[in-house]
Symmetry: C2
């Protein structure tokens, strides 16, 4: 038996245990996991040091190394994150609806765990603990497949969490890590229908494409965000400037960051010069259409491909549009249906934008950066879905459950 | 451009129209479609006659021909079905939640159409009209791909519905039919990510397997039902007999029909002889384990493969189990997670069964035949989902929608 078969069986068996575990027991296990991670801080840092050294040796980028690195403070945050998950309400067992039919059948729709969840992600060890905690709280077993550069740290974290689980009487198979980090095994995980109920890729466009192309397990796409801010002719231009700067520069590497700025032609000459100056002050590289390049000698002409691109960097594409209709059409053509914003003081325009833009989150007069499980008040987040089925936008614990109809009768048969 | 590209573009464009269409306008279009179908009864019967003649000529089975056949009465029922869809409440625009965050952001979660839905189904022309009506009411454009033997009838029905739509000011692309009924084009439809938001296969196990294997568009699996009835040792045996006969024989060709009977060993000798006699009276063929074959000279031994098989016929597999735990383990191993029932007067056992059986619908003391959108009170049904993401069990109009977050701010930026 290969690794996936063994871990699939372990996860499947653990999922039956978790499906009927009480909230109190799950919280006890989570707190034990949080304690164990905290108590093993020094050990984790040591093991993580090996991963970091190897990553540096092969010359990986600074941002990559930063996401891979665990410090005492970051391990404390991971441990606290698990504690916070323990405090969140358990969605399992809650009623979605209760109906009594004319024939006397009582039909209850209740939340139940999905079962076994596969998660494929990059070399960010914090995701290992986060995802494990969210899956456990929602009654799901998990099979984790993290980036190969973090395998040492992930093995340490999962080993520590498994030991804590076993002490609390939970099966080890609640949390599983794929140790073979080859691409072939990642693809095999996407096709492990026998054991997996859903697969969630968390990562860049390449990973998402690979899942769409290869997965036979139902997948929830997350996290690609080519987000736009449209500055309407009725915008408060000072508010617009603050929103653009925040959306673009507060954390350019994340999926809810702004990638494109659309400006109504009627205010372009009034708005853009100061806006462009601000962007340059924040170190943002600009590509743009003819008008933008005419106003900004530093701007390069945008290629068609630019309008599709999620830079995840201090770079922005700017385009002047003739109307709100053009702005909406552009967003619906080039966007990734993640987060889109309009800045306007005009209610018909804000209503039109909210209604016609096809995205998980559509904003009026606020930064796109708020699309996030914590900012939305869910207390946690496993990712941001950019597809339409099952979940759309930030996914909290509820999105890690499905439903089941429980029907009570007293001998009803169908005519 | 090939057919799918043309129809994909038409559907995508129509979906933008439908997404903002009012409920009143959609109902007007639906009533016009219902009228047009009714008014063209003779024409439809004539065209359908051609499909039937061709199907008979190649010797297709009686049940197949029956499902393909439209009569005056059946066309009346199709027309009335569309009228009933017009009367159902429109889920689009309803609020799932409304939250005001401490920073003043107002976050509304509202229902919106999925966009463009692909439906692949067998040679059942009633599905053509049903699916078109449900998709239109829920604001979705649809691309239909029905069985090749019904292509004449489907073309007639879709042509009539499109003409009615156009008269009401709706784009023709709201309802599209794939005219090339080759397998290659069906597979291409499953991979039409550029235009489709979801694909729903309605059909047998072979079609579902093909979608799981080939689809890159998010899919909702429907309709495979290897459903069990477990007669517990605490069962009312007369009730058990009625439920088994109803679940097995009232309509054996549908997915919510019983395929397997599990009987607790303590009551097997008391229950089975009369039960087997009844089943034979209803013309049911029995395969079973050793105990069953010992009690019934007409029963054939069940092969391992039998326990996995959805017969969709007057045939049943019967097994005696040692305990409720064995019954649950058998169901979770061999079942298709559709509909499962226990007959018992013992509350701890019914609670255990409801909790531990992993299926869309779990029944206590009622026939599995009730798993159906109409019986559940949804007023309509596009299919019965046997997967866990997005929708589980009967899917009504709500399950043909997704959600969108609409966020109102007054200049909020993220720290």
């Amino acid at each position: 038996m290969n690794e996936l078969e063994i871990k699939g069986q372990m996860a499947k068996s653990a999922s039956a245990f978790l499906a009927v575990a009480s909230e109190a027991d799950k919280n006890r296990a989570l707190l034990a996991m949080a304690d164990a991670i905290y108590d093993n801080t020094d050990y984790i840092i040591k093991i993580n040091g090996g991963d970091i050294a190897a990553a540096k040796e092969i010359g990986l980028a600074e941002g990559f190394i930063d996401r891979l690195t665990l410090t005492k403070q970051r391990i404390g945050a991971i441990s606290n994150g698990i504690r916070q998950v323990a405090e969140l309400p358990d969605p399992v067992g809650t009623y979605v609806s209760r109906t009594k039919r004319p024939n006397g059948l009582e039909i209850d729709k209740v939340r139940v765990p999905l079962g076994v969840i596969g998660i494929i992600y990059e070399s960010r060890p914090n995701v290992t603990a986060d995802a494990a905690a969210l899956c456990l709280k929602s009654g799901n077993a998990v099979i984790l497949r993290g980036g190969k550069e973090s395998i040492g740290t992930n093995l340490a974290l999962v080993g520590i969490m498994q030991e804590a689980l076993i002490k609390e009487g939970f099966p080890k198979g609640c949390i599983n890590l794929v140790e073979d980090t080859s691409r072939e095994t990642a693809t095999a995980l996407m096709r492990l229908n026998k054991y997996l109920d859903v697969i969630i890729p968390r990562g860049g466009a390449g990973l998402i494409r690979s899942v769409v192309e290869n997965a036979t397990v139902p997948a929830i796409e997350t996290g690609t965000g080519n987000c736009h801010v449209f500055v309407d002719k009725y915008a408060d231009l000072s508010m617009a400037r603050d929103i653009v700067i925040n959306a673009k520069t507060s954390r350019p590497s994340v999926c809810n960051a702004e990638e494109k700025l659309l400006v109504h032609c009627d205010i372009a000459e009034r708005f853009l010069p100061a806006m462009l100056k601000s962007l340059h002050e924040y170190g943002v590289t600009v590509v743009g259409d003819q008008t933008v390049c005419g106003l900004d000698p530093e701007a390069a002409p945008a290629a068609e491909e630019d309008w599709y691109t999620e830079y995840l960097d201090l770079k922005i594409g700017i385009k002047v549009v003739d109307s709100i209709e053009d702005a909406i059409a552009h967003i619906n053509k080039y966007g990734t249906r993640h987060s889109e914003a309009i800045v306007t003081e005009n209610i018909p325009n804000s209503t039109k934008f909210l209604k016609e833009v096809d995205a998980a989150a559509v904003y009026v007069n606020a930064s796109t950066r708020f699309t996030d499980g914590f900012e939305f008040g869910f207390g946690a987040e496993i990712g941001i879905s950019t597809q339409k089925i099952h979940a759309r936008g930030p996914m909290g614990l509820t999105e890690l459950t499905t439903t089941k109809y429980l029907i009570h009768g007293n001998g009803q048969i169908r005519e």
